[in-house]
């Protein structure tokens, strides 16, 4: 029996289907956040995932928690193969960015269930990157309806900053979807790790750096781009996609001011942003 599931991620309609049998339970019962809004009757799929069942009899799957960092994505002439870094012979799936399609391989019912959300997250990144949009490792807060994004390497202070704000003000403390709608830039939280599924206009981007004194410096568009790009979730190894993202960021950094903020671990910075 074939099974089809319709979900939405950040407003994008997604079809998950299996042609060989029922979808595994961990896909059918995705977290409620993915299915929060009632889907309209005229569901026009934007992206499509085909679940393919694989022979798991010889498969020795490492026992882990499905971290993004354990995944490797290799360009295979425009198709992207998703592999386990520690066992590259295990393919988790394939992504066809141009078609907005991906295949997810299921080994048994439970063997690679921890990798479904990372696979969904990373393939979603490849799809939206076709338009230069991306998911960023970042925290974000909302103040008077406008969003401020904090991005940087691990330890820069993204989480430290979001901890100073109330839960209602924090859009996300890990992943932000950055996109352009009618000439304006918007940020959305992603459903796999979010308290707050709002979308709001992006007012500024801040690169935090822990320091003894508070100092805020405006960055040039190029400096800002160089600080944003390394924090893009699994930046696809593709010339075309890199070009798309560069074009997107050039427009975005001209319109959205970007700052480096050196800050001590107290709440004084809150008055400045």
């Amino acid at each position: 029996m074939a099974e089809v599931l319709k979900i939405k991620i950040a407003g994008k309609s997604i079809l998950l289907k299996s042609e060989q049998g029922d979808l595994p339970g961990y896909i059918r019962n995705l977290p409620a956040d993915f299915q929060k809004k009632a889907l309209p009757k005229s569901f026009k799929r934007k992206f499509e995932y085909l679940v393919l069942f694989q022979d798991a009899s010889q498969m020795r799957f490492p026992k882990d928690n499905g971290l993004d960092s354990a995944i490797e994505i290799k360009n295979n002439s425009g198709r992207f193969d998703v592999l386990l870094k520690s066992k590259p012979e295990i393919k988790l799936g394939r992504i066809y960015p141009d078609k907005g399609k991906a295949d997810f391989f299921v080994y048994g019912e439970q063997l690679n269930k921890n990798y479904f959300i990372p696979f969904l997250r990373n393939s979603f990144q490849f799809f939206i990157a076709q338009a230069g949009e991306f998911i960023l490792h970042a925290s974000a807060i909302v103040k008077n309806g406008e969003g401020t994004v904090f991005t940087g390497p691990s330890g820069a202070g993204k989480t430290t900053i979001s901890n100073f704000y109330s839960k209602e003000s924090v859009l996300s403390d890990e992943f932000i979807y950055l996109r352009k709608i009618k000439g304006e830039y918007f940020i959305s939280a992603m459903p796999w790790r979010s308290q707050n599924l709002k979308t709001c206009r992006l007012a500024k981007i801040i690169f935090p750096k822990k320091s003894k004194e508070l100092k805020i410096i405006k960055e040039s568009p190029v400096a800002a781009i160089c600080k944003i790009m390394p924090n893009i979730l699994h930046m696809p190894k593709s010339f075309k996609i890199s070009e798309n993202i560069l074009s997107f960021l050039i427009e975005a950094t001209k319109k959205v001011p970007c700052y480096t903020m050196r800050f001590p671990k107290n709440d004084k910075f809150m008055e400045e942003i």
Partner: protein, 90 residues
């Protein structure tokens, strides 16, 4: 590599020049390089087949600096671009 060598840009490197600065993306390594105004001026001047000596002359004129010092710096900078695969000797 010396001032009489010719270099060209690696066409597989996406880049942009904005407000006199440049951003270069090493797609395979996933690295992003920021070039200041002089670096961006050198990168912008490199074409299909550009002599390193000509790059140095161009930089001297553009930034009003002495030729001898510029020649050494340009050679060093272009060598580092070559090592990273951003340019190649032709």
């Amino acid at each position: 590599m010396d001032k009489n060598s010719y270099v060209s840009k690696n066409k597989k490197i996406p880049y942009r020049i904005i407000e006199g600065e440049a951003v270069l993306v090493d797609v395979d390594r996933g690295e992003v390089i920021h070039l200041n105004s002089v670096g961006a001026g050198i990168w912008d001047f490199i074409g299909e087949k550009t002599k390193i000596g000509d790059i140095a002359n161009h930089i001297c004129e553009k930034f009003d600096i002495e030729n001898d010092a510029a020649a050494i710096d340009v050679l060093e900078f272009v060598s580092s671009l070559n090592e990273k695969g951003f340019v190649k000797i032709v």
